[in-house]
C-alpha cells in the first residue's frame, strides 16, 4: 500500500476497512479545512483497493468513480459522469464521443432520468461482473438486491460525490435518490458524500434520507502539515535534470528548516496545506538562490565544483538566509493568500539580486528591499483610476456622497443660500451628535445605499460649482446663478459617463434597465480610500462633505 499522507492514517484505515468489508450504503465525509487533500487521499485509497493492493475480502472487486457538484451542473452530466467513470470509458472524438453502452444493446440511453440511470447502474454492474469473470445473469440480478448479504456478487461500486453543497443548489432533486442508491438500484453500491458543509445543512426535509455513516476529518495539525510539505520535496527534485536547481536533493535539509519556519509564520492564518505549499513554492526559489549563485560561481572558478558542491550548509549560511528572507514571508502571506498577485509574479518581484551572500549583511538587506521595490514600481506604473476623465472622477465623488450621506442632509451640506455656509455646517454637526443613538450603525459599515440619478446630478452640480466652474470654456454671460451648472450637468457627456462607469462596475445600477418610470437608481461601489484619492486629485475636501466623516 502506498504511503499515507501524514494525519490521514486513521481516516484511511477506517475507510479501507469499511469499503473492503461491509460498507454502509451512504457515507458522509466532512472536512472543513482541506477538502481537496482529503479527496486526493480518498482517490488514492480507492485506487489501491480496486487494484487489489489492500486487504479486501477475497474475491470482491471494487470499482469507484468521483464526480463533483460544480462540474455536474445538469442531471445528464451527472449520470454520464457516473456511468462512464465506473466503467472507465473515455470519449473518443472519431466515434462521436458516444457514451458507454454494453455490447448487447447499443442505443440505450441512461442519461434521461433517474429511472434510466438506475438501469444504467445495473447494466454497469452486470458488465463489470462479466468482465471480472463472475457469473451473473440478468434474471438473477434482480434477486440479488433483496438478499445480497447471503448471495454476494463480488463487484462493489463506490461513487464519491464531492462538493455536495453545490449539488444541493444546482440539482436538489438528486440528493435523496443518491442517499438511497443501494436500495433503489438493488446492487452493491456505496455512495460517499464529501463536503466542507456538515450533513445537517444538506439533509433533505421530512427524513427523506437515511442517516449517513459520519466520518469527520480533523483540522490538520501543524507538524503534519510540515511533514506533508517536506514530503513533496523528494517528488519535486525528481522532475529536474539540471545540476543546479532549487529542488536539488542536497538542499532538502535547508528546505526542512525553511518549511518549519514558514509554517510558524503562516499557520495561524491558514491551515490549508495547499495554500502553504503555494506560498512555499513562491518563496523557495528566491530563498535558495544565493546558495545556487554561490555554487555556480564556484563552479566557474575551478575544477573543485564537485568537491565543494553540495556540502551540507553551514549553520551560518542558514542563519543568514533566514535573517534575509524570513521577514518577506509575512508579505508573501498578505499578497498570496488573497491572491492579490500570483506565485510566479510574486517570486519574480521578490527575487534577490545575484550573489547576495557576498555582501555584508546590512547591505544585503538593503539590496533586497531595493530590488523588490524597483520591480514592484515598474509593475504598478500606469494603473489605477488616475487617468479617468475629470467628469468621471466628479461623478464618482458625487455618487459616493449620495451613497453615504442621508438624502435629508443634502440641503444642509450643499445648499448655498444667503446664510454663511460655515454656520450651517456647525449646526448640522451638533444635530447629528444629538440624534445618533447607540443603536445607529454608521453608513460606512452598512455599505452604500442606492440613490436616484437626479440626486447625484444635483450633488454633482454643487461639486462642480464649487470646484470646477472656472475651468469651463466658452462660458457665455449667464444671468442666473447656477444656470451654467444646470446646463453642464445635463450634458450628454455626463450621462454617457454615468453609463460608462456603470459598465466599468464602478457604479452599480440597482433599478432594472427596462424601467422607464422614474429616475434610474444607482449605487456607488468605489471604496472610501479610492474616493479619497480621487478627491485629492481634484482638490476637493471629501471629509468636509461627508455627513458622518470617518
Amino acid at each position: 500500500m502506498a504511503q499515507v499522507l501524514p494525519g490521514y492514517e486513521l481516516f484511511s484505515d477506517e475507510l479501507t476497512t469499511l469499503i473492503s468489508t461491509f460498507p454502509p450504503p451512504f457515507i458522509y465525509v466532512h472536512d472543513q479545512e482541506s477538502l481537496p487533500i482529503t479527496c486526493r487521499v480518498t482517490d488514492a485509497l480507492l485506487n489501491n483497493i480496486s487494484l487489489g493492493e489492500s486487504s479486501v475480502q477475497p474475491g470482491a472487486k471494487v470499482k469507484h468513480t468521483r464526480v463533483d457538484g460544480i462540474s455536474c451542473f445538469t442531471t445528464r452530466l451527472f449520470y454520464e459522469a457516473v456511468i462512464n467513470g465506473l466503467v472507465g470509458h473515455q470519449a473518443d472524438w472519431e466515434e462521436g464521443c458516444s457514451n458507454w453502452a454494453p455490447e448487447e444493446d447499443l442505443g440505450v440511453r441512461w442519461n434521461e432520468n433517474l429511472d434510466t440511470f438506475l438501469h444504467g447502474l445495473r447494466a454497469v454492474h452486470r458488465h463489470l461482473c462479466k468482465q471480472n469473470g463472475i457469473s451473473s445473469t440478468s434474471n438473477t440480478a434482480s434477486d440479488k438486491g433483496k438478499d445480497k448479504q447471503s448471495q454476494y456478487d463480488n463487484v462493489r461500486l463506490v461513487i464519491v460525490v464531492e462538493r455536495i453543497e453545490r449539488l444541493r443548489d444546482n440539482l436538489p432533486e438528486l440528493i435523496v435518490p443518491l442517499t438511497r442508491l443501494a436500495e433503489l438500484a438493488r446492487i452493491d453500491v456505496s455512495v460517499i458524500f464529501m463536503s466542507q458543509v456538515g450533513w445537517q445543512d444538506i439533509r433533505p426535509p421530512f427524513g427523506a434520507s437515511p442517516d449517513p455513516y459520519y466520518i469527520d476529518i480533523n483540522p490538520p495539525a501543524k507538524e503534519n502539515v510540515v511533514k506533508y510539505l517536506i514530503s513533496n520535496f523528494a517528488e519535486l527534485s525528481k522532475r529536474f535534470d539540471e545540476t543546479v536547481n532549487p529542488y536539488h536533493p542536497a538542499l532538502q535539509s535547508l528546505y526542512t528548516h525553511f518549511v518549519t519556519f514558514l509554517c510558524d509564520v503562516c499557520f495561524p492564518f491558514t491551515h490549508d496545506q495547499q495554500e502553504l505549499q503555494y506560498i512555499a513554492a513562491a518563496r523557495w526559489p528566491g530563498f535558495v538562490k544565493p546558495v545556487l549563485d554561490r555554487y555556480t560561481s564556484h563552479g566557474e572558478d575551478g575544477e573543485a565544483q564537485e568537491a565543494m558542491s553540495w556540502a551540507p550548509h553551514t549553520e551560518e549560511i542558514r542563519m543568514r538566509l533566514a535573517k534575509l528572507f524570513n521577514p518577506s514571508l509575512n508579505s508573501a502571506l498578505e499578497a498570496l493568500l488573497p491572491r492579490q498577485t500570483n506565485a510566479t509574479e510574486w517570486s519574480q518581484t521578490h527575487e534577490p539580486p545575484p550573489n547576495i551572500l557576498n555582501l555584508p549583511p546590512l547591505q544585503a538587506n538593503q539590496a533586497i528591499s531595493k530590488s523588490t521595490a524597483d520591480k514592484r514600481s515598474t509593475l504598478e506604473s500606469g494603473s489605477g483610476m488616475k487617468n479617468l476623465p475629470k467628469m468621471c472622477k466628479y461623478i464618482l465623488l458625487a455618487s459616493f456622497l449620495a451613497s453615504t450621506n442621508p438624502a435629508k442632509s443634502d440641503l444642509r451640506m450643499f445648499g448655498r443660500g444667503l446664510d454663511e455656509k460655515k454656520r450651517k455646517r456647525k449646526f448640522t454637526q451638533r444635530t447629528t451628535k444629538a440624534n445618533v443613538g447607540p443603536a445607529k450603525i454608521p453608513q460606512r459599515l452598512i455599505g452604500p445605499s442606492p440613490f436616484p440619478l437626479d440626486r447625484m446630478i444635483a450633488i454633482l452640480g454643487a461639486l462642480l460649482e464649487e470646484n470646477d466652474a472656472d475651468t469651463w470654456i466658452g462660458s457665455r454671460e449667464f444671468l442666473i446663478a447656477g444656470e451654467q451648472t444646470d446646463l453642464e450637468t445635463m450634458r450628454v457627456g455626463v450621462l454617457a459617463d454615468v453609463m460608462e462607469l456603470t459598465s466599468m462596475r464602478l457604479l452599480h445600477r440597482t433599478s432594472p434597465a427596462d424601467r422607464l418610470d422614474g429616475p434610474p437608481m444607482f449605487k456607488c461601489v468605489v471604496s472610501y480610500e479610492d474616493c479619497l484619492a480621487l478627491a485629492k486629485q481634484l482638490d476637493v475636501a471629501l471629509n468636509d462633505l461627508l455627513w458622518d466623516p470617518v
Binding site: P36, D68, I70, S71, F73, R76, L77, N84, Q90, A91, D92, W93, E94, E95, G96, C97, S98, N99, G107, R109, N111, L236, F240, Q274, Q277, Y278, A280, A281, A282, P285, P338, R339, Q340, N342, A343, T344, E345, G384, K386, N387, L388, P389, K390, I480, L487, M490, R491, V492, G493, V494, D497, M499, E500, S503, M504, R505, L506, A513, V526, Q537
Partner: protein
C-alpha cells in the same frame, strides 16, 4: 420604427445608438424639398461651379491622409502592450513555477480604457500568426461576449462548440446526439483536442494553446463565470486553456472584488493595461500636427484644439474621440468656406471662367486685393486696392504661391517648435526651470496647454527667452544641447534637411530656423489650410439635453429649415398662435403653478387655438391661399353651422390630447392621484420663460 430597429436598445454596454433615418416610414410627413441631398456639402454663396463636389473630394483626400497618420501613431502607441500580452499568452504554459500544489488556469486581464475594440483586434492578429521568429506557435482563439454566458450550460456550450469548430474544421465525426455525451460536457472538448493533437500535432509545438477571449468581462455574471473557471481548471492537463479578459474598468482589481477567494485560487491572474489618459492625446496631436515628418493638408487651430483637449480630459478619454473631433473639424472646415476647395490644387483657368464661378472668382479677387502681400500691393493698383482686378492666371499663380508659402512656413514652424521643445526638455533634464512651460507634474496642463498658448500668443517671447537662457549655460552643457539639436536635425527627412542646410551651419541654430514667429495667419489665403480660431461645434457633439429640449419647445422655428430661421433672425418673434400645438401647451405649462388643472389648461389651449383659427381664416380670406403651416384648416364659408362647431371642438380636444401626450413622453408631466384632474409639473425655473 419597425424593422430598422434591430439594435438592442437595452444593451448597457452602449452609450448611444444609431437609428438610421428611413424616409419611407415618415412618408406621410412633408417631402424634403432639398434637391441637393446627395451632396454632403451644401452650396453657398460665392461658390465655385461644382464647389460642393470639389470640396468633398478635397476633404476626402485631406482626411484620409490625416487619418492614416493618426492610425499609425495609435498602432504605435498600443504596440508595446500588445507585444507583452502576446508574449504572456504564448508562454502561459511554459516556465510554470515548480512546486505549486496544482495547475493554475492562466487568466490575463486586459484593462483597455482608451483603444476600444482595435486593441483586441491587434492582439488577435498577432496571435493568429503561425510562425514567429522561426518557431511554430499556433494557438486557437475564440471570442465570446457576455450574451454567451446567460447560465453555465449555455456558457460551456459556447466555449466547447466554438473551439470544436476551430479544431475540427472538416467535421470528422458526430454520432447520434442522444447516445453521445452532452454538448456542454467539457470531456467532449478534451476528446476533440486529443484527436487534433494526434492528427495535426506539430513537432515543435505539440500543444497549441486554446485562447478564450472574453469581451466586456465585467458584464458577465460572476456566479456563472466562477463555475466556468472551475470546470475549465479541472482539465488543464489535457486542455491548455488561456483566458483573456477584456475589461474597461480602470480599478484593476475587478477580479479580486467580484470573485471569491476559492475561484481566485484556481487562477493565475496577470494584468496588463494599455496606455491611457492625456498621454495618448498628446502623442497623437504632436505626431500628426507638430511633426516635421508629416505635412497635414489642414492644420487645426487653437479653437478646435482647445475643445478637443477639454472634451478629452473632461468627458471621454478614448482614442475615438480624437478621431471624431478632428474629422468633424475637417468636415466643418471644408463645409464652411467655398474657398477651401483650393486646398489641394487650383482649378484650371477654364473652370474658373465659367459663368457659375464668377462670384467665387470675384471673392478671390477681393481677397487678393486686401490680403495681398506687400510686394504685390506696390503694384500699379496700390493707390486704389478696390479696383485691383488680377487676371485669371494671376489668381491661380497667387493661390499656388500661397499654398507653397504656407506649407513651407508650417513646416518651419513645426521644426521650430520641436527645437524649442528639445531645448526645454534639455533644461528640465538638467534641473533648470527653463521656459515658462510646465511639461511634467500633476497639476500641469502638459504640452498641449503650451501649444495652445503658443498658437494664441506666438513664439516670440519664448524664442528670446530660450536664447537668453542658453547663453547662460556652461560650455559643456551648451555643447551637449547643441548635440541634442544636431541629432534632431539629422533625423529630419531629406528634403527638409536640404532646406534647413543653411540654418544647420549657423552656430545658434534655433534663432534662424524658428524665425517664423509671425505665425501662419499672415500668409495670404491662410484660411484654406488652417482652421484658425474658428470654434468647434461642441454643442452638437455634447449637447445639454434639458436645455435643448426646452429651447426646442420654446423656439421651435429656430430648429426648422434655414429659410424659416432667416426670417426669424430678422427679429420678429412669432406670436403664440403661430407655434405648433405642443409649444403652445408648453408655454401655458410654464405659466402655471406646481400643479396643473388639466381642464384649465385645456381651456387656455383652446383659447389660443381659437385665435389661431380666426387669424388663419382672415388670412385665407385676404389671400385665398391655404396656410402652409397648419393641417386641416381652410374654412371658406363665413357662417358656421352647428355641425362645424362641434367638429372644431372635437379637433381641439384631439390636438390637446396629442400635445399633452407629447409633453408626457418628454417627461414634463408627472401623474398624481392626490388631486382629481391635476398633473404635476416636473420642470421649473426655466430662465428663458417669458
Amino acid at each position: 420604427m419597425g424593422k430598422s430597429l434591430d439594435a438592442n436598445l437595452d444593451d448597457v454596454n452602449k452609450t448611444s445608438f444609431y437609428i438610421p433615418y428611413n424616409p419611407d416610414e415618415d412618408s406621410d410627413l412633408e417631402e424634403p424639398t432639398n434637391d441637393n441631398q446627395n451632396s454632403f456639402f451644401s452650396e453657398s454663396e460665392n461658390d465655385l461651379m461644382n464647389g460642393p463636389e470639389l470640396r468633398f473630394l478635397a476633404y476626402r483626400e485631406a482626411w484620409k491622409k490625416c487619418l492614416e497618420r493618426m492610425q499609425e501613431t495609435i498602432v504605435y502607441l498600443r504596440r508595446q502592450t500588445v507585444n507583452a500580452v502576446v508574449q504572456e499568452v504564448r508562454s502561459s504554459y511554459s516556465g510554470v513555477l515548480p512546486g505549486l500544489p496544482y495547475a493554475e488556469l492562466p487568466v490575463i486581464s486586459l484593462t483597455n480604457t482608451a483603444f476600444g475594440a482595435m486593441f483586441l483586434e491587434d492582439v488577435t492578429q498577432r496571435l493568429n500568426t503561425l510562425e514567429e521568429e522561426g518557431r511554430h506557435c499556433q494557438s486557437f482563439m475564440l471570442h465570446l461576449h457576455p450574451s454567451d454566458f446567460p447560465n453555465i450550460t449555455t456558457g460551456m456550450r459556447s466555449i466547447i462548440a466554438g473551439f470544436i469548430k476551430e479544431l475540427d474544421k472538416e467535421g470528422v465525426a458526430r454520432g447520434k446526439p442522444a447516445a453521445s455525451m452532452a454538448n456542454y460536457d467539457i470531456k467532449v472538448l478534451v476528446a476533440c483536442y486529443k484527436w487534433f493533437i494526434e492528427k495535426h500535432g506539430h513537432e515543435d509545438h505539440p500543444q497549441p494553446n486554446l485562447v478564450l477571449i472574453l469581451h466586456d468581462f465585467e458584464q458577465i455574471d460572476p456566479t456563472v463565470m466562477q463555475d466556468v473557471f472551475f470546470v475549465c481548471s479541472q482539465h488543464l492537463h489535457h486542455l491548455p486553456l488561456v483566458f483573456l479578459l477584456s475589461m474597461s474598468s480602470p480599478s484593476n482589481n475587478y477580479l479580486q472584488s467580484a470573485y471569491p477567494r476559492s475561484t481566485l485560487a484556481l487562477l493565475r491572474g496577470s494584468r496588463f493595461s494599455t496606455l491611457s489618459g492625456r498621454k495618448i492625446l498628446e502623442e497623437v496631436v504632436l505626431k500628426t500636427f507638430y511633426d516635421a515628418h508629416f505635412d497635414p493638408d489642414v492644420v487645426i487651430g487653437p479653437g478646435v484644439l482647445e475643445c478637443l483637449v477639454d472634451y478629452f480630459s473632461r468627458y471621454n478619454s478614448q482614442v475615438d474621440v480624437i478621431l471624431t473631433f478632428i474629422q468633424l473639424s475637417y468636415l466643418q472646415h471644408f463645409n464652411a468656406d467655398p474657398i477651401s476647395a483650393l486646398n489641394r490644387g487650383t482649378p484650371s483657368a477654364e473652370d474658373l471662367s465659367q459663368a457659375n464661378s464668377a462670384s467665387f472668382v470675384q471673392a478671390l479677387q477681393y481677397r487678393m486685393a486686401y490680403d495681398a502681400p506687400p510686394p504685390q500691393r506696390k503694384s500699379p493698383s496700390k493707390s486704389a486696392p478696390a479696383k485691383f482686378s488680377p487676371s485669371m492666371n494671376e489668381i491661380i499663380t497667387s493661390v499656388d504661391e500661397s499654398r507653397r508659402h504656407f506649407r513651407l512656413k508650417a513646416q518651419k514652424l513645426r521644426i521650430g517648435f520641436n527645437v524649442l521643445l528639445k531645448i526645454q526638455q534639455f533644461f528640465e533634464s538638467k534641473g533648470y526651470k527653463g521656459l515658462e512651460w510646465k511639461l511634467t507634474g500633476e497639476k500641469s496642463g502638459g504640452i498641449l496647454e503650451v501649444i495652445l498658448k503658443l498658437m494664441r500668443e506666438g513664439f516670440d517671447r519664448d524664442i528670446k527667452n530660450a536664447y537668453t537662457l542658453a547663453k547662460k549655460l556652461k560650455q559643456d552643457e551648451l555643447s551637449e544641447l547643441l548635440d541634442v539639436i544636431h541629432v534632431y536635425f539629422d533625423s529630419l527627412p531629406d528634403e527638409v534637411r536640404r532646406d534647413e542646410q543653411k540654418s544647420r551651419t549657423q552656430v545658434i541654430i534655433w534663432r534662424n530656423c524658428i524665425d517664423t514667429s509671425e505665425g501662419t495667419q499672415d500668409t495670404p489665403f491662410w484660411d484654406i489650410w488652417y482652421t484658425g480660431t474658428r470654434p468647434f461645434p461642441s454643442e452638437s457633439v455634447n449637447p445639454s439635453i434639458r436645455s435643448s429640449t426646452v429651447a426646442g419647445l420654446l423656439r421651435p422655428h429656430d430648429f426648422g429649415d434655414i429659410a424659416a430661421q432667416d426670417s426669424k433672425l430678422m427679429g420678429d418673434i412669432p406670436a403664440l398662435w403661430e407655434l405648433p400645438d405642443t409649444s403652445i401647451l408648453f408655454k401655458r405649462y410654464l405659466d402655471s403653478g406646481k400643479m396643473i388643472n388639466v381642464y384649465d389648461w385645456f381651456e387656455s389651449f383652446k383659447a389660443v387655438l381659437d385665435t389661431q383659427r380666426s387669424e388663419l381664416k382672415s388670412a385665407n380670406e385676404g389671400t385665398k391661399t391655404p396656410s402652409p403651416k397648419k393641417r386641416g384648416k381652410g374654412k371658406k364659408r363665413p357662417v358656421e353651422t352647428e355641425e362645424e362647431i362641434e367638429k372644431w371642438n372635437v379637433e381641439v380636444q384631439a390636438r390637446f390630447i396629442r400635445a399633452l401626450h407629447e409633453l408626457d413622453y418628454l417627461g414634463f408631466i408627472k401623474h398624481t392621484t392626490r388631486k382629481a384632474d391635476h398633473v404635476l409639473r416636473t420642470s421649473f425655473d426655466i430662465g428663458d420663460a417669458d
